[in-house]
């Protein structure tokens, strides 16, 4: 074959079901039972409200830095709604709504956001045993999902793993290695890219020259799909297909959710330095929560009144959670606990360091009592 274009047996699709006005494409509309639709709606609302509450707590100095999620609720919930609780989730650091859906408590999120390792305690409800903790180093968690998926395949289980990461994460070497490994062994992984247009101040187009992030899957020989990430129905439909492929042993899928970070990168960030209000306003019109609400209203699954009472319930729950978290935080914080959980057992040197610190703290206490 002297010179010819090669057929690559992979294509990249785009999927959108519920448009910006809340109008649904009947042919594509997934069949989701009403109670699940309402749970999705509730979670979206709760996620949004809790995010805003955290922002004000942070501004009051009652919690530390955190990465708000507003705008990405559909991109996250559409995925986890298509999974079983026994499936695995390996998040990055901005998947708060997905964590809430999976069962993590608001308290545990608040405790973490206050710099207590105890935010990860099982008894405080950090979610099912198949959920990884938050991972801060961008892109690095994807490989853990691959390892879990390999274990699933080895044990002939039919579980799947979903791992989340941002548009920025696609530039990291770890993204590449994870995608490649998953492709080679056809592992049951959903690679869920939260393309929220920004990696701190770097816009999507400066992150990579490729037109879509979904097409990066072509490099690894498995399908990629781009979905409207502010359309929870589209995200859900794509996730159902990907979960199905994965369970059947047909391997991984890359799902690019096109969405928007409506708030700051973290509470330490000032987005006015790098993006315009117009851009933010334009995306506000595509708000995933409002859109989904319109859809449910039009389907008569909801009424304005029900929404108002739901909002009230959520406010109450959040208030309770903040109270419980603050109570709990009053009872923890013994510095000596920092030696716990690094190893199964403390080495003699660590024991010695722990003991010395204990002694020192009491000596210093005495000093200040006397001083």
């Amino acid at each position: 074959m002297p010179r010819k274009t090669l057929e690559i047996p992979l294509s990249v699709e785009h999927l959108s079901i519920l448009d910006e006005k809340g109008k649904v494409d009947k042919n594509l509309e997934p069949k989701i039972p009403k109670d699940r639709l309402l749970r999705l709606h509730r979670m979206m609302k709760q996620g949004r409200a809790f995010d805003q509450r955290m922002l004000s707590l942070q501004r009051q100095g009652r919690i530390g830095t955190f990465p708000p999620v507003s705008g990405q609720e559909a991109s996250q919930l559409g995925i986890v709604a298509a999974m079983d609780p026994e499936d695995w989730m390996v998040p990055a650091f901005r998947e708060m709504t997905a964590e809430l859906w999976r069962g993590r408590s608001m308290e545990s999120i608040l405790i973490s956001a206050n710099g207590f390792n105890e935010g990860a305690d099982a008894e405080d409800g950090e979610g099912p045993a198949t959920d990884f903790p938050v991972s801060v180093p961008v892109g690095s968690q994807m490989l853990h999902a691959v390892g879990i998926a390999w274990g699933i395949q080895y044990r002939k289980s039919d579980r799947v793993v979903a791992t989340f990461f941002g548009d920025g994460a696609t530039s990291e070497g770890d993204f590449h290695e994870a995608m490649n490994f998953a492709g080679v062994w056809r592992l049951p992984v959903l690679f869920v890219c939260q393309n929220n247009q920004w990696a701190i101040s770097i816009p999507r187009k400066d992150q990579t020259r490729s037109e879509t992030l979904a097409q990066k899957a072509i490099a690894y020989g498995f399908p990629g799909i781009q979905v409207d990430g502010n359309d929870v129905l589209a995200v859900y439909a794509a996730a159902v297909e990907a979960v199905d492929r994965a369970r059947k042993g047909e391997g991984p899928t890359l799902i690019e959710c096109v969405t928007y970070r409506m708030s700051v990168h973290t509470t330490a960030d000032d987005p006015k330095r790098y993006r315009t209000d117009e851009e933010v306003d334009a995306w506000k019109k595509k708000d995933p929560v409002e859109r989904f609400e319109k859809y449910l209203l039009s389907k008569k699954h909801l009424t304005k009144k029900k929404i108002a009472s739901l909002e009230e319930d959520i406010e109450g729950e959040i208030k309770e959670a903040v109270k419980r978290a603050e109570e709990k935080m009053g009872t923890i914080g013994d510095p000596l606990e920092m030696f716990d959980h690094l190893y199964a057992e403390l080495s003699p040197r660590l024991k010695q360091q722990r003991d010395a610190l204990e002694r020192e703290l009491s000596e210093l206490q005495e000093d200040s009592n006397h001083g």
């Binding site: 830095t65 207590f116 994460a169 914080g333 920092m338 690094l342």
Partner: protein, 327 residues
């Protein structure tokens, strides 16, 4: 002279070096319009344009590997790793290449690059944002490891690092970024890499530290002087590698006692080498074991507990006092 925070002083160093030499290129994540997450590169983008202040995709090995190529081509890349907790993504490019290209090519290609990274705790940051692991670089042949302790020396050392013919790892203490202001001359100022400074004189005990720990060490020294009449000589290393072991060894010959303070985990940490050099050079003058006051051999805890981890003036004074009373 203007009073500047360390952020402003570092910014001044970059700005002046960029004005002076068009080979100097600043690159990294968010260093452009955003001015860096700590604003060290604030305004440089406007002053020098997109090419001289290069926002890169999110990839640390990429940033460092690319800088090696840029340096070999004849430029002077100053790259920023957003937090030193993510420098490991680039470890291989540093060890395999930045540190070795001069050697591998027998001087034909050189790597005059600076790798800046904020390190250390004390600013209530997230996981991976508070580590102090300078020992990795101090142990790596082919690198220099610089750690300023305040606005003025940070500026002068950064200028020297940029002009240095070899790769310099430059760790900036986040805790110092906006902690206080210092007079920083507008006119060019440099400091030799590899030279420590005696920042307080005293005859009773030698306290050796660097980076963010110099301030609490000085505070502890004042406390010891006022409450116990113990006069500490305080040495600020400024550079960890090559390590200036002359000044502190000489000081210990006078004082007979030594305390080393750092934030990094103690075991296999920088203090071990400092202690070893002392043992080598001042063995017969040491009246008792050298005291290492350091981070514990654990991951630095999340911020609710970080104060209990990082040595502070109270801990330093307390432990030094106990040692001096015992001695």
């Amino acid at each position: 002279m203007a009073k500047m925070t360390m952020v402003q002083a570092l910014n001044l160093a970059l700005r002046q070096e960029m004005e002076r030499d068009d080979r100097v290129i600043v690159l990294g994540e968010d260093v452009g319009v955003d001015g860096g997450v700590f604003r060290i590169t604030d305004g440089l983008h406007e002053a020098f344009g997109r090419q001289r202040v290069l926002d890169t995709p999110l990839a640390e090995a990429g940033i460092v590997g690319m800088s090696v190529g840029m340096a070999a081509y004849g430029l002077r890349p100053v790259c920023e790793i957003q937090f030193s907790g993510f420098i490991y993504q680039a470890f291989h490019q540093i060890e395999n290449h930045a540190a070795r290209l001069r050697w591998r090519s027998r001087g034909r290609f050189t790597v005059p690059m600076v790798l800046r990274a904020p390190y250390g705790g004390g600013v209530r940051a997230l996981e991976h944002h508070s580590e102090s692991r300078e020992a990795y670089w101090a142990h790596t042949p082919g690198l220099k490891m610089v750690m300023p302790s305040g606005p003025r020396n940070a500026r002068a050392l950064l200028v020297s690092a940029i002009r240095d013919p070899d790769p310099v790892i430059f760790y900036e203490a986040k805790a110092l970024y906006r902690a206080y202001r210092e007079e920083v001359p507008e006119d060019e100022e440099t400091l030799p890499i590899g030279e420590s400074q005696i920042v307080r004189e005293g005859d009773d005990v030698t306290m050796i530290s660097y980076g963010a720990m110099v301030r609490p060490t000085l505070e502890a020294a004042e406390d010891l002087s006022q409450s116990d009449g113990i006069e500490a000589e305080v040495v600020d290393l400024l550079t960890l590698s090559p390590l200036d072991d002359e000044k502190f060894s000489r000081s210990v010959k006078k004082t007979g006692h030594a305390v080393i303070v750092h934030e990094a985990p103690g075991s296999f940490g920088p203090g071990a080498e400092i202690l070893s050099r002392l043992a080598e050079k001042s063995f017969f003058y040491l009246e008792e074991p050298v005291l290492r006051i350091t981070g514990f051999d654990i991951v630095i805890p999340l911020f609710a507990r970080e104060k209990a981890y990082i040595p502070d003036a109270r801990r330093i004074a307390h432990q030094t006092r106990k040692m001096m009373k015992r001695g």
